[in-house]
């Protein structure tokens, strides 16, 4: 019995006394002598982590013998005299406060691998998907790859990363979003803190052409498998979207095909062609807006379009 008591005590001692390595991804930012929080060392770790994520570094200050830091809406105070560390109002004895506990209280996602605590290199802040475009805002570096698997776009972590307070190892799936059939990733465009994954339809030909009155354009539910044609009264013209340099060429092929089809309609039906990005026309997808003097023209133009799409 006494043996087990001392053995357990030894193990606990080992855990606390043994140093740990703290990494951001594969990069070591600190090797601690013990697995207990140390004020100066903790400050360096937080500063390096902030630098890596390109967020504000901790702000430090002193009140008498009390030192404090403010970081990412958290406050940590330390009194060398009492040996107490206070994180967001909860005090602990510094000799008993492990780095893991500190990370948990500061809401920093981490993974424990052997004697290492691994922090993420990239943190996804938000994700949105609309009209074949997946937008990801992130902190740090963009360590993700997107691909379409079946009806879903899947985002995989290329390094250690985090999303919704969870940490993901390299190769692990971070999230997936249903996009429907026949999509593929055309391109991923990265900006600082923001990435745009552009999807395109593998094949748009032989798809249904759907006519939508302009009065219903704002609320229309456009099926992924259709080519929307919006129409309203006007001076006999067809409008298409242009491309944008924001997509770094990923929308060129759709624009070229859209323009080619529009030019054929213009030629055949003696229309004008206007290039203008109207909000209801989906991005990076074939679509048209017809402004016609006479409602009877609509059926003729749709018939021509269907022929062209065969």
């Amino acid at each position: 019995m006494r043996f087990w008591f001392f053995f357990l005590l030894f193990l606990v001692e080992c855990v606390v006394v043994a140093g740990i390595e703290i990494q951001v991804g594969s990069k070591t930012i600190a090797v601690t002598k013990e697995n207990v929080f140390e004020w100066e060392e903790g400050l360096i770790i937080l500063s390096k982590y902030s630098e890596n994520l390109q967020i504000e570094s901790p702000t430090v200050g002193t009140l008498g013998s009390f030192e404090y830091l403010v970081w990412n809406n958290h406050t940590i105070g330390y009194s060398e005299v009492s040996g107490l560390v206070t994180i967001d109002g909860v005090s602990s004895n510094i000799d008993q406060l492990t780095y893991e506990e500190v990370l948990k209280r500061l809401e920093i996602p981490y993974a424990k691998v052997g004697a290492s605590l691994i922090l993420p290199e990239g943190v996804i802040s938000s994700v949105s998907h609309k009209e074949g475009i997946l937008e990801i805002t992130y902190l740090g570096s963009f360590e993700f790859a997107a691909s379409v698997v079946g009806e879903y776009i899947e985002v995989v972590s290329l390094s250690w990363s985090a999303y919704e307070d969870q940490i993901f190892s390299p190769g692990e799936k971070v999230f997936k979003i249903r996009v429907g059939e026949n999509w593929s990733v055309e391109r991923t465009v990265e900006f600082e803190g923001f990435a745009r994954v552009i999807l395109t339809r593998k094949n748009y030909r032989n798809r249904n052409v759907v006519l939508i009155p302009l009065s219903e354009a704002a609320t229309a539910q456009i099926n992924d498998d259709t080519i929307p044609v919006f129409w309203g009264i006007g001076d006999n013209r067809v409008l298409i979207r242009g491309y944008s340099s924001d997509f770094e060429g990923a929308d060129w092929s759709v624009y070229a095909e859209n323009k080619h089809l529009a030019e054929k309609l213009v030629e055949k039906h003696d229309l004008k062609l206007e290039i203008c990005p109207l909000i209801f026309m989906p991005v990076a997808r074939i679509s048209f807006t017809l402004l016609l003097e006479n409602e009877d023209y609509v059926a003729q133009i749709l018939s021509s379009l269907r022929e062209l799409l065969k």
Binding site: Y243, S245, D246, D270, L271, K272, L273, I275, C276, M281
Partner: protein
């Protein structure tokens, strides 16, 4: 990056003295008509918007008076901040032609600008007034020519 922006701003300021500028208006058929002005004003963008909103006799414009709030340049992009209350008067056709008129005028006069972005009241918005999508940049390649083609 900042140096390039400063350089472009300097260029705009320097070249603004005694520079000939081309402003596009519309005729009765809504086709573009260019008019050349000698710019004495030191702020070319402000000058262009002032001229665009005051067409010569016989020509028309869809650029309202005092629609420009501010502008700035980021690398090779020109960001134009517009006044929402002035845009409220634009209907579907006017809104489209406002965009065409402004873009062709800006791209014609600033050869170093590759794209134009619009803000409304200092904020990034989805639409200019009601219809034109301004979430993404407008590229020079499309608006160096008038983007309406076909029968006169």
């Amino acid at each position: 990056m900042r140096k390039i922006a400063v350089f472009i701003v300097l260029c705009i300021t320097i070249f603004s003295f005694g520079r000939q500028l081309t402003v596009f208006y519309l005729n009765d058929e809504l086709y573009p008509v260019s008019v050349t002005y000698e710019c004495e004003n030191e702020d070319v963008v402000v000058f262009l918007f002032e001229k665009m909103s005051n067409p010569p006799e016989g020509l028309t414009t869809f650029v309202p008076v005092d629609v420009l709030k501010a502008y700035f340049i980021v690398e090779k992009s020109l960001v134009i901040d517009l006044c929402k209350s002035q845009l409220a008067v634009l209907d579907f056709q006017m809104e489209r032609y406002f965009v065409h008129q402004v873009l062709i005028t800006l791209f014609t006069n600033f050869s170093g600008i590759d794209s134009v972005y619009f803000l409304v009241d200092g904020r990034k918005r989805d639409v200019l007034a009601n219809y034109v999508d301004i979430r993404y940049g407008f590229p020079r390649q499309i608006w160096t020519e008038w983007p309406v083609r076909g029968k006169e």
